[in-house]
């Protein structure tokens, strides 16, 4: 199914659609206030864009420098071409330690690699420890947002889920009560885990360390209690210098949730006492995007989710309608880069309002990218046949002004008198969800000519 069909499913519940829209707009407003509190905000965004663009143009150099410096600090570095290799390396490390219990903190990369089902097939217990992630793990759902994975759920839903899985009281929907119950449940998991897996927000080339940002402290617990810490990072997560973090830590949380910084910004530069630390560097389809004329800036993304929170389409269609690891505007450009045929509807899940590009802390030209993707979809012959015919006809019509004028004239005369059943038939896709506009008596062209005449007389 494509985005329109999946979105139609979500929007069936009108009340919930409005609620979802409001919840995300609330976050977007917090982002606005936070960004306005920093006078140098725009200068920071430009700096971030420049650092990232420079890094991507020299990615091989920085990745090699990172490996060298990380090894010098006792971190073991692995390279994985794709998801399968990432999962295999992870399993090898787990087997080496005879590990059966894993605590994981939110990582969109492990989600992309489908690590959980892979490890579970091997008889390993994987517990997602971010509260939102744990909720959706119980429900066997993927995250619907990269920062707020359970934003699509109401507290009643969470209460029911927890009642079923960790035995909370029926009908107790109090967020504090539910969070405390999850806290007790997850503390046991942290203390009983053999290995902790985390994502990576930034890998620093000149120090050989990684940085992980969370509000709950779950990544920190997962990486400081078990003896072994495995961190999975996409190749694009690298930054050149420790000082560059000043720019990104100022932008990330403000853009994501409107906080001045995440509660915890952890800098891992070596294992815990008597332990091991591993970093797996993953490509999985990223490197070809580096060379793309239109889409390379998408690799600069720091995964704050601001583009989703502001997107009028995402807010009203929900994360699941994108059928992709990363939803929203950034997902709509990244996913078609990897598989255009599978994600051909995503570039159209966009009103080209450009709000995503305006809030993006790294100034990624998201709406331009989505516009280019549409052209690629057409060039690849993947456009829906109905749409292709309609656009082809419109193209022809606009090239023949006399025919266009005639058609317009006829439409203005005929359409207002057509019966409703004929106007809102299956032929009129526009009218499916909207009322048609009132047809004016005169065309713009006619009005313009009249106006010119009045001026002259």
């Amino acid at each position: 199914m494509g985005h329109p069909e999946l979105a139609a499913k979500f929007t069936q519940d009108v009340e919930r659609t409005h609620w979802h829209d409001k919840a995300l707009w609330f976050v977007r407003e917090k982002r606005d206030r936070a960004s306005k509190s920093i006078p140098e905000w725009e200068a920071l965004r430009r700096k971030a864009q420049q650092i990232k663009t420079h890094t991507m143009e020299n990615l091989d150099t920085y990745l090699e420098a990172f490996e060298k410096n990380a090894k010098a600090k006792g971190i073991q570095v692995h390279w994985a071409k794709n998801a399968e290799e990432h999962n295999r390396i992870t399993l090898q490390i787990l087997n080496l330690h005879n590990a059966k219990k894993v605590v994981k903190s939110k990582s969109m990369l492990t989600e992309e690699c489908h690590l959980n089902p892979y490890l579970e097939e091997q008889g390993i217990e994987v517990v997602d420890t971010d509260l939102g992630e744990r909720i959706i793990q119980f429900r066997k759902e993927p995250p619907s947002h990269i920062v707020l994975p359970a934003i699509h759920l109401k507290k009643e839903d969470v209460s029911k889920t927890f009642q079923e899985h960790i035995g909370t009281e029926a009908g107790n929907n109090d967020p504090t009560y539910l969070t405390r119950a999850a806290r007790a449940h997850l503390r046991e998991k942290f203390l009983g885990a053999d290995v902790g897996i985390t994502g990576v927000n930034y890998a620093i080339a000149d120090t050989g360390g990684i940085v992980v940002c969370t509000n709950e402290g779950n990544a920190d617990l997962g990486a400081t209690i078990p003896k072994v810490h495995i961190a999975s990072m996409g190749i694009e997560k690298i930054i050149p210098r420790l000082q560059d973090l000043a720019v990104f830590t100022r932008l990330l949380a403000r853009s994501a949730t409107g906080q001045p910084i995440t509660s915890y910004t952890s800098h891992f530069h070596g294992p815990i006492e008597g332990g091991e630390m591993h970093v797996i560097i993953v490509d999985n389809g990223r490197s070809p995007i580096l060379g793309s004329e239109h889409y390379s800036q998408a690799l600069n993304c720091i995964r704050c989710g601001a583009c989703m929170n502001t997107c009028p389409v995402y807010r009203r269609s929900g994360g699941f309608s994108y059928e992709a690891t990363i939803p929203g505007p950034i997902g709509s450009t990244l996913e078609p880069c990897k598989d255009l045929a599978k994600h051909k509807t995503l570039p159209y899940a966009c009103s080209l309002c450009a709000s995503c590009s305006n809030v993006c802390p790294i100034r990624i030209d998201l709406h331009h990218q989505l516009y280019f993707h549409r052209q690629d979809v057409v060039k690849a012959g993947l456009l829906d046949k109905k749409k292709e015919r309609a656009l082809g006809f419109a193209g022809w019509l606009f090239q023949h002004p006399k025919v266009l004028d005639f058609c317009g004239k006829m439409a203005r005369k005929v359409v207002p008198h057509l019966p409703r059943w004929m106007m809102y038939s299956s032929m009129n896709a526009w009218g499916e969800h909207r009322e048609m506009m009132d047809f004016p008596e005169k065309s713009f062209k006619e009005l313009y000519v009249e106006r010119q005449k009045r001026k002259q007389s």
Partner: protein
């Protein structure tokens, strides 16, 4: 060919050669706060923590006791604080600090723009102490306040293997219908004493 070689080759094949320079950080104009403590306190309060300014160290024990009357198992690595002689280094594994009610730990410096304090784990044996303790009090020298993260990162280095963390307020979550709940997995309160 190893995966590393394959990946680096692929990157070299695709990467662009437009030579965007790496910008310098020196001289970047940033917001400066006149009253650093005032700004730090406002920022920390906004994320669920609390900043307390103390005239001198003699009142530190009483001030901490006043906010943590219930705490029995206390671990402390702050010089001049007499609430516990247990600095956490006697425990063999991080699991042993799971029962700590209150951790009183040294912060290296504080950042006014966001209410964060830099904790360098070189001063504790188990990094997990910062996250497993039910409550945390961070003690920072009041002369060690900076305006922004740019100044903060000028002060940090990782010459040796190690771990450090910026902590801003207590652990929290808003994953259930955007309702803010303080104390997700980590400490349920986050006080910062500037002495």
């Amino acid at each position: 060919m190893s995966s590393k070689e394959t990946m680096l080759q692929s990157i070299c094949q695709y990467k662009k050669q437009s030579n965007t320079p790496l910008p310098e950080h020196a001289g970047f104009a940033t917001i400066m706060y006149e009253d650093l403590f005032e700004q730090f306190s406002t920022a920390l309060t906004s994320v669920g923590g609390k900043a307390v300014l103390l005239e001198d160290k003699t009142h530190l024990d009483d001030a901490i006791r006043a906010i943590a009357q219930e705490a029995e198992h206390i671990v402390c690595n702050v010089e001049g604080c007499g609430l516990s002689s247990d600095d956490g280094s006697k425990y063999a594994t991080p699991h042993d600090v799971a029962h700590v009610d209150l951790a009183i730990v040294r912060g290296e410096f504080a950042v006014a723009e966001n209410g964060a304090v830099w904790l360098d784990a070189a001063s504790v044996r188990h990094r997990a102490l910062y996250f497993l303790a039910q409550h945390i009090v961070i003690v920072v020298d009041k002369t060690q306040l900076v305006s922004t993260m740019h100044e903060a990162y000028e002060r940090i280095g990782f010459d040796k293997a190690g771990y450090g963390v910026f902590v801003s307020g207590p652990s929290k979550t808003a994953d259930i219908e955007q309702s803010l709940v303080i104390g997700a997995h980590g400490p349920k309160s986050g006080y910062v004493f500037l002495v």
